[in-house]
Symmetry: C2
Subunit: 217 residues, 2 copies
DNA sequence: GGAAGCATGTAAGATGTTACATGATTAC
DNA sequence: GTAATCATGTAACATCTTACATGCTTCC
């Protein structure tokens, strides 16, 4: 058993399990479904398809089209279907990752003016509100469709997260405004003394692949 | 003006702005501070240092050590300091990305048994609770340190998110258990009919670099 | 009738991770 | 006294993105 496939492979297998699609269609489908919590670019979809094809997990049929470029429509093979179910059943998946540049800015907020920090927080809240609104629509729509329970659950996740994000932003804004904390900007020297302590304080969360399904001891 | 630097570069600049460090120290510092919302591997830190050095934004001094390998301690240059402040001030940053394999599994929950779905949700909640507990400690600690307002805000973000994640997991669990939704498993055929509609329903959220600061029209 | 967009992809390059190397030091 | 860990990195590789190619079609 070689290195396990990355999550992106299973994402593609999963979408193809719903209906056969071309690479282009797949990329669209990603953006409109799992893209909220597992983004993939168009080209990455194509290279996943290449790999899965060479592994025999999907197979593609060329289809000629009028006034459009020919396309290859891919569908799961038996092996692909099994691989997908095995992954769904296993606990051996990558850990989640969150990458939020705005938070990096906030972390170094002592180098910014109060106003600038407030503005970054505002932006975060604004983005989160927009996302919330969008996801609220999707969630409500999916809620009506009895068969769409799992897509609904996924969409709700995004909704709850963006709500929490907006709430956090406002909580911090109020807290910073209310307290004396926010005074003492451009006082990096003291902060750098503090730095050592901070780095000691926080345990290191390790990410990456987790929960390896232990074979027989 | 060449291609703008990736967020990771500024993350390194930011940490070096607190205190000069070796690559090894930096990697530790990342894990214990911004790693929660901007993870970087050790090796990536080194390659960022290489780039920043060649750009003249940081400079390293070799230091010999007894019974330990020599190290190079890096610090910001004037240009590096300016680059950092400029980034903090700008609105031209990458968008956030969330990659959550467990959610991909949930999305394809129709291929799993009810029990298995419940277990995945449980796992998510468990992980979130563990993360919450850790971050609660950090947050409370930082709350006491007047100068640590911004690190506090960042930690609080992680805390609020993991709380929301755990809450979501339980909300979905209850909802799935209560409703008739969860029946009709292994009924992928209907779901695949549905698939088209789903893909139509959801607007495509585009990610990547945003808010380009518009130059003069 | 030129510009923008759709429907397909491919090629090149940047970003990020896992595995390896090495000598000292500490833990059992 | 061997195994694990620390403190430094480097080399090799996998993942993901941005830019390009191409012919049709729709918009103004």
């Amino acid at each position: 058993m070689a290195r396990p496939l990355p999550t992106s492979s299973y994402a593609v297998l999963g979408l193809l399990s719903l209906t056969p699609m071309s690479g282009y269609d797949l990329a669209q489908a990603v953006d409109k479904s799992i893209g909220h919590f597992w983004p993939m670019s168009k080209t990455q979809v194509y290279s996943e398809l290449g790999r899965l094809d060479s592994l025999g997990l999907v197979e593609g049929h060329a289809i000629e089209q009028e006034r459009l470029p020919d396309k290859r429509v891919f569908r799961l093979t038996e092996a692909g279907s099994r691989a997908l179910d095995q992954w769904l059943d296993s606990q051996d998946h990558e850990g989640p990752t969150f990458r939020i540049p705005a938070l990096v800015k906030i972390f170094f907020g002592h180098r910014m003016s109060r106003e600038r920090v407030a503005q970054v927080l505002e932006d975060v809240a604004g983005d989160a509100d927009a996302e919330s609104e969008q996801l609220r629509g999707i969630t409500e729509l999916l809620e009506q469709i009895p068969k769409a329970a799992h897509p609904w659950a996924s969409a709700l996740y995004g909704l709850r997260m963006s709500e929490a994000c907006a709430a956090w932003s406002r909580e911090v804004r109020d807290r910073l405004a209310a307290s004396d904390w926010a005074r003492g900007h451009h006082d990096a020297s003291l902060d750098s003394e503090l730095a050592r302590d901070l780095f000691e304080a926080a345990p290191a969360p390790r990410r990456g692949r987790r929960r390896r399904s232990g074979g027989p001891s």
